[in-house]
């Protein structure tokens, strides 16, 4: 059974139809990429999946259970981890403490008034950070971290509740090319090892075509293509979206669908 099933999800903001009748599914251990130009509706999709936005219509099911419209914290309790396009971490805490918070919350121990955090769930948090090559950053405050490192902290937090589903909104934005590939390879191996279904958005085509098992292409809120990387790469509609009308043919090289790595400079705005 698919971990996540999405059925005819729809959302408008005023007159803008941000997401129109989007349906798809993610299987355990699968890496599914959701790509599309700026403003295509990717983050809006994510926000509906983890409960931050209530869809206008449609269903979201997690392991067969309807989670449409549940509050984010309830969705999280059901085993969904998420990273944000614009990182959201606790700036007044160290990297380790950020991860500890997620672990403590997962074990429902945030109500404790007595045992200091310094002694709570330290070892598992350290192990998780070590797994993400962040052990040497553990004691640094999140408030002063480089953006790429913050993205790793987000991933560590998202993994802390042993998720069945991982939602990653532009997980490698702000990282050097080498680092991006490394992080995604790591994510893929963790996902396979634990059977986590991963849905991620990304503007870096190397990352997308190198690590996705399947790709969804979103344009102006609607899904226009879906399939394995090779198929999507060859899809004329996808090429059109990325290059504009008039483009056809050409040789789909390894750094495609279009020209190269990153589709365009990232603007830091829009939904989280």
């Amino acid at each position: 059974m698919a971990t996540l099933e999405v059925d005819k999800l729809r959302k408008s903001f005023g007159g803008v139809q941000a997401v129109r009748d989007v349906s798809f599914a993610v299987a355990p251990g699968e890496m599914l990429a959701l790509i599309g130009p700026n403003g295509a509706g990717k983050s809006t999709c994510f926000n509906m999946l983890n409960g931050q936005l209530r869809p206008d219509a449609g269903w979201v099911r997690l392991n067969g259970q309807d989670i449409t419209g549940l509050a984010p914290r309830k969705v999280w309790r059901m085993g969904v981890g998420r990273t944000f396009q614009i990182t959201a971490t606790f700036g007044s805490m160290t990297v380790l403490e950020n991860v500890q918070m997620a672990l403590l919350s997962h074990r429902r121990r945030l109500g404790q008034l007595w045992t200091p955090v310094a002694r709570a769930d330290r070892a598992p948090a350290e192990a998780l950070l070590a797994r993400l090559d962040m052990a040497d950053q553990a004691a640094r405050p999140c408030g002063i971290l480089a953006y790429g490192d913050l993205k790793r902290v987000e991933l560590a937090i998202a993994l802390a509740n042993d998720p069945k589903l991982l939602l990653m909104d532009e997980p490698t934005a702000g990282m050097a090319p080498q680092e991006r590939v490394g992080l995604m390879a790591l994510t893929a191996s963790i996902a396979r090892e634990r059977g986590i279904a991963v849905l991620f958005t990304e503007h870096d085509m190397d990352v997308v075509f190198g690590h996705a098992d399947r790709i969804l292409v979103l344009d102006r809120g609607a899904l226009i293509a879906e399939g394995p990387p090779a198929e999507v790469r060859a899809d004329p509609r996808v090429r059109e979206v990325y290059l504009g009308a008039g483009f056809s043919g050409g040789h789909p090289g390894s750094r495609d669908p279009v020209r190269g790595s990153v589709a365009r400079p990232k603007s830091v705005q829009g939904g989280h």
């Binding site: 944000f84 700036g91 403490e97 918070m101």
Partner: protein, 615 residues
């Protein structure tokens, strides 16, 4: 029936007066984002100045109306002076510091008014031409009230015209919506702010001056009106003129009819309506969302770690001194020390809300006072021994913390802070007005400790043990998962929610916990003084707590402790050496805000870090 009509009319008259004050407050807030506590002082000055002018000028129309107008204009100029000398310099300071500065002005004005006009209530003459009454449904209704009913709509109309059809008004509206934009357009912001202050202060002064024929002029007018004006502005929506008008109408009528329903506690009714409105419409009737008011000094909060060495040593030294020296101290010193211990806990409890919680409370004295009254009422009506009284105190405060907090923590920013103030005023008005039970203004006397604790030294050690224990417990909690969760929702509400933290519940429990701790402090205070009074819950006491926390620094628990020490010591000394302690305290507050906008601990920390950076 006839009676109801008259009640409605008198409600309209109050609504008019209230609107004059509130409109000025809301316009000032809209443009400058400053919550101006001194607005009540402008109102009071309007009344006093009008009294002076009207009684010295020749009698007659010119003397009266000219006097009223001159008073209002003069208050407008005083507003300009306050803006130019003080507020202009702190527009970039954190919101709460601005609030403190305006409260400093309140204190200064109180003493200056006392010096100028004396302590006794002053009665003004009636308005010439409006001395009589008009028959309405066979009952006489004062002409002056009818006149007031007309003033409100006329002023509202003039203001609307001013804001709609003049260039200046357009700028004010633009600035209310988006300050940056106005700056970008190259508008002379200084002039704009100053002129807005003139208008706001003028309106408050006019409101005060027009009260002359209605009620006596006294030194309590400032805080009495400011609480209600805040209610009107918040219910209407901060920055909204029509909202203020609507809310003034609502509150005015509520007062009028509340007297028929609950004659003793109309204030309670007013504040309850405010609570309900804010829960249904969190930004007031006509308001829009504003940025959050940070409890802290703004910017990223630092990581909390072990306290720096020198501070630890200092703390240990202070503790040793607090344990060893008192047996050699006299009675007076002992009661000061007892008070200091109590206020350290009081400040530490507020710090939990403001620091880790990231919320602001303008009414924390409510829980201090409720603790004190809980103990005192138990002593008076149940003849409870001190031990029981001290146990009831945190219970009573915590119970109300749960109830009031449920409303307060679901709002954000200034609205939340205003709601805390409103609930504090409810509690205050109950202690003040429910004379049969609470003794009203006379308080409850004879709340003495048991014989074993009666010696000042013993009571001091008892207080020290309880306050120290409670403060250390707070510290422990801040370092425990609960305290971290509280900081988590402050740092990033989005991330907190995304990892399963119920921010509302955490904030609510923290609010109640802070109330419990304040209640302990209040209970101890009651037995230390032997009596309780409504002032225990008053606005000044809430501001005292804010002062201690903010001047000490909100980042770590050491801030409020140092703040409480410094503040209690300072105030105690001032009260002893001079009658004008309010004036001096006000000046000190203003100076501190001007020169140390990050708080004393913040400044010390910055200096310490800079020194370490050099090394």
């Amino acid at each position: 029936m006839e009676n109801l009509v008259l009640q409605a009319l008198s409600g309209l008259a109050s609504a008019s007066s209230l609107f004059l004050v509130a409109s000025g407050l809301t316009v000032i807030f809209g443009v400058s984002r400053i919550v101006n506590f001194a607005h009540g002082s402008f109102y009071m000055l309007g009344a006093y100045l009008a009294w002076t002018f009207v009684t010295t000028l020749p009698r007659g129309h010119l003397g009266f109306w000219g006097g009223v107008l001159a008073a209002a204009l003069l208050v407008g100029l005083i507003g300009v002076v306050v803006e130019v000398l003080l507020l202009r310099r702190i527009y970039r300071a954190p919101e709460l510091f601005q609030l403190l500065a305006t409260f400093g002005v309140v204190l200064i004005v109180q003493d200056l008014a006392l010096l100028t006009w004396g302590a006794q209530d002053l009665l003004g003459p009636r308005a010439p031409g409006l001395r009589g009454g008009t028959e309405i449904f066979g009952m006489r209704f004062p002409d002056y009230e009818l006149f007031l009913i007309g003033v409100g709509p006329v002023v509202l109309g003039l203001l609307v015209l001013l804001f709609r059809y003049t260039r200046w008004g357009t700028l004010v509206r633009a600035a209310t919506q988006d300050r940056e934009m106005v700056g970008a357009l190259g508008v002379n912001q200084r002039m704009l702010f100053t002129s807005v202050f003139f208008l706001g202060a003028f309106l408050a002064g006019l409101g005060g001056a027009l009260q002359l024929p209605r009620e006596s002029v006294n030194l309590h007018m400032d805080l009495a009106i400011i609480a209600e004006a805040f209610v009107v502005v918040v219910v209407g929506g901060l920055g909204s003129l029509t909202g203020a008008a609507l809310a003034a109408l609502l509150i005015g009528e509520l007062h009028a009819f509340g007297i028929l329903v609950l004659p003793k506690i109309t204030l309670v009714l007013v504040f309850l309506v405010m609570a309900v409105v804010l829960v249904v419409r969190p930004h007031g009737l006509m308001g829009k969302a504003t940025g959050p008011a940070h409890g802290g000094a703004g910017g990223a909060e630092p990581v909390i770690g072990p306290a720096p060495r020198p501070l630890v040593h200092l703390g240990i030294a202070a503790l040793v001194a607090a344990l060893v020296l008192p047996p050699f101290a006299g009675d007076y010193a002992l009661s000061v020390l007892t008070e200091i211990a109590i206020f350290i806990l009081f400040a530490a409890s507020l710090h939990l809300i403001m620091g880790p919680g990231g919320m602001a409370s303008f009414g924390h004295a409510a829980y201090f006072g409720l603790g004190a009254y809980g103990a005192a009422l138990a002593a008076k009506w149940l003849a409870a021994p001190m031990e029981l009284g001290l146990a009831i105190a945190p219970f009573a405060a915590g119970l109300f913390g749960l109830i009031f907090g449920w409303f307060c923590v679901r709002l954000s920013g200034v609205y939340s802070a205003m709601l805390t103030l409103a609930f504090a005023q409810i509690a205050w008005s109950v202690t003040f007005q429910w004379v049969e039970v609470t003794g009203g203004d006379n308080g409850i006397l004879g709340v003495w400790p048991e014989p074993w604790a009666a010696p000042k030294l013993v009571y001091y050690y008892l207080t020290l043990a309880l306050c120290l224990g409670a403060t250390l417990l707070l510290r422990r909690i801040i370092h425990a998962p609960f305290g971290y969760a509280l900081r988590a929702q402050r740092d990033s509400a989005l991330r907190a929610e995304a990892i399963g933290i119920d921010a509302f519940r955490i904030r609510w429990l923290a609010f109640a916990l802070a109330a419990v701790m304040a209640g302990i402090a209040g209970g101890l205070f009651a037995y230390a003084k032997g009596s309780v009074f409504p002032t225990f819950l008053g606005i000044p006491r809430s501001v005292d707590a804010l002062l201690m926390v903010l001047l000490g620094g909100v980042q770590t628990l050491s801030g409020p402790i140092i703040g409480a020490l410094a503040f209690t010591g300072l105030q105690e000394q001032l009260v002893r050496i001079t009658d004008l302690w309010r004036l001096i305290l006000g000046l000190v507050i203003v100076a501190l805000v001007l020169f140390f906008p990050q708080g004393l601990a913040g400044a010390a920390r910055a200096r310490w870090e800079a020194r370490r950076g050099d090394a």
